[in-house]
Symmetry: C2
Amino acid sequence: MSAIYRIALDAMSGDHGLDVIVPAALTALVQYRDIELILVGDTEKVQAALARHSQKQHASLRHMISVQHASQVVDMDEPPAQALKKKKDSSMRVAIDQVKLGKAAAVVSAGNTGALMAMGRFVLRMLPGIDRPAICTAMPTLHGHTHMLDLGANVDSSAEHLYQFALMGSELAQAIDDNAAPKVGLLNIGAEAIKGNEQVKAADALLQGSGLNYIGYVEGDDIYLGDVDVIVCDGFVGNVALKTSEGLAKMIADKLKTNYSRSVLTKLAGLFSLPVLNRFRAEVDPRHYNGASFLGLQGIVVKSHGGADSLAFANAIGIARTEIIKKVPQHIGTHITELLDLRQAG
Amino acid sequence: MSAIYRIALDAMSGDHGLDVIVPAALTALVQYRDIELILVGDTEKVQAALARHSQKQHASLRHMISVQHASQVVDMDEPPAQALKKKKDSSMRVAIDQVKLGKAAAVVSAGNTGALMAMGRFVLRMLPGIDRPAICTAMPTLHGHTHMLDLGANVDSSAEHLYQFALMGSELAQAIDDNAAPKVGLLNIGAEAIKGNEQVKAADALLQGSGLNYIGYVEGDDIYLGDVDVIVCDGFVGNVALKTSEGLAKMIADKLKTNYSRSVLTKLAGLFSLPVLNRFRAEVDPRHYNGASFLGLQGIVVKSHGGADSLAFANAIGIARTEIIKKVPQHIGTHITELLDLRQAG
């Protein structure tokens, strides 16, 4: 009998809640025949959504879904400390609890990032030797993808923190991409007036002697070139890079659309170009990159974009599955322990 | 007799040197009939380039160009301190000297950013009350453009520095866009685990009481929405946002091109779409945004992208001209002095 990977879904969170997460669950079950999903939320509402969204083809999958009741929901803008204290029976918290209880090997949520991080840390605990969790996601590039972290869990990261992010990102890339020695770059500003800040310079020195496949400094435009597998930065910087990219992509798409809508002739040109434009859109479709990993915890927590649709949320479930199969937290834990032993011995 | 605006060009710097800057100078002279240009560099080489690039139509413009000799060139990767010390007869330095000497009202260079900043500070001095210069450029948006600063002159900017950047950006936007009360936003990370860092929070408090048209925090995706006129951030963050945007735009253009080149049919579709694609390209053409202002100096210094072509470099000359006409440094100086008086009185 082959392994079954159990994943808990925070079914009530995100901009669209059950009406995205239930179809996403069904999509993921069709795609991956080796997963079971625990939908965590108001039992009655979850069952109703399941009835609403299930089609004939899903009948055989229903036994792969169980429902775990949770009476509360964490609001998207609720302060993390408050959610941690007052939302102990929320869909988010109960979903994380499933991992702690050993009933699931990963949790996926489209909810409040700060609350998910706070609850994840509190319930699952940090891996020994890792000071802070980091948010990591894959970004599309010219030749594939690059894993980038941290994307907003930390601000004012120290050199040691950046170093730990590099180690975690490298382990993630090894696991997800079957890449034995991922190329790791440290995000910096290059040819400008002042080259880097103190933390980045100190992190560079640490990484030079790290044993990772460290290639040195990279700049913002390297994110999309695809010549580096892991890009490490402070969470403030990474979050700005990510959001800036989202904004630019949206502007470009809007301007392209406006130009094709200008006249009958341009609309015709657009129609004629539809296969090209659709293929192009599929290549850069952010839904195929939805799902950010919270690294550094003793468990797998994947954050979906709040506005994700079912295809995007299903992608986040796929990421959780891969991290279970590849035992990402265990690999990070082993690596950091070896490193700490080495330092103590040295 | 109407005013003539004199601009010194560092004619030897940038990736392409004279073969871009001389044609750019001629283009700018055709476009603006109220400027005179001082080409600073090796006299013999500059004259040869002028002869090479001048066409019949330019004959009447030649008296608007003068040549100022400089025997050295600052290398693109030369450390700023070394350039400052050893390149006193470089085209960059002599061009800046023209402003100090009152022979020009602005300088434009496509050279080494750090060296240009160091020489600009040394020769022209900071405006009283401004601690650090900032690099500011216009970014295209859905509805026009946004001025963003700092883009790499400073790292680890304090709240007071961010506040000064806001003031300078607001003055620039007022001058360039004839906008009496530009909307100023402070770049932050929003709905993430930790909201902002200490400097940003403290700058927010300063800006709330500033009298600027401060609209509060904005995020990376707001850069391209066009709902804010000035976006303020630390230079490390701003530089990453700028370079990330360059990389993403390049990736999107490459992927679009690849998809249109895939087969005879897609090439035909591309041909049919050419008017649309050309118009789209023109709208987001980075050459129309080339030219970053070094704000905070007692003089106008505009930095062109090193790889700029003549159209792009001519745009940077246009920015210098506008800043002269609108007296940008004087306005910043007056505003900061009023503010300092207010603080001392308060």
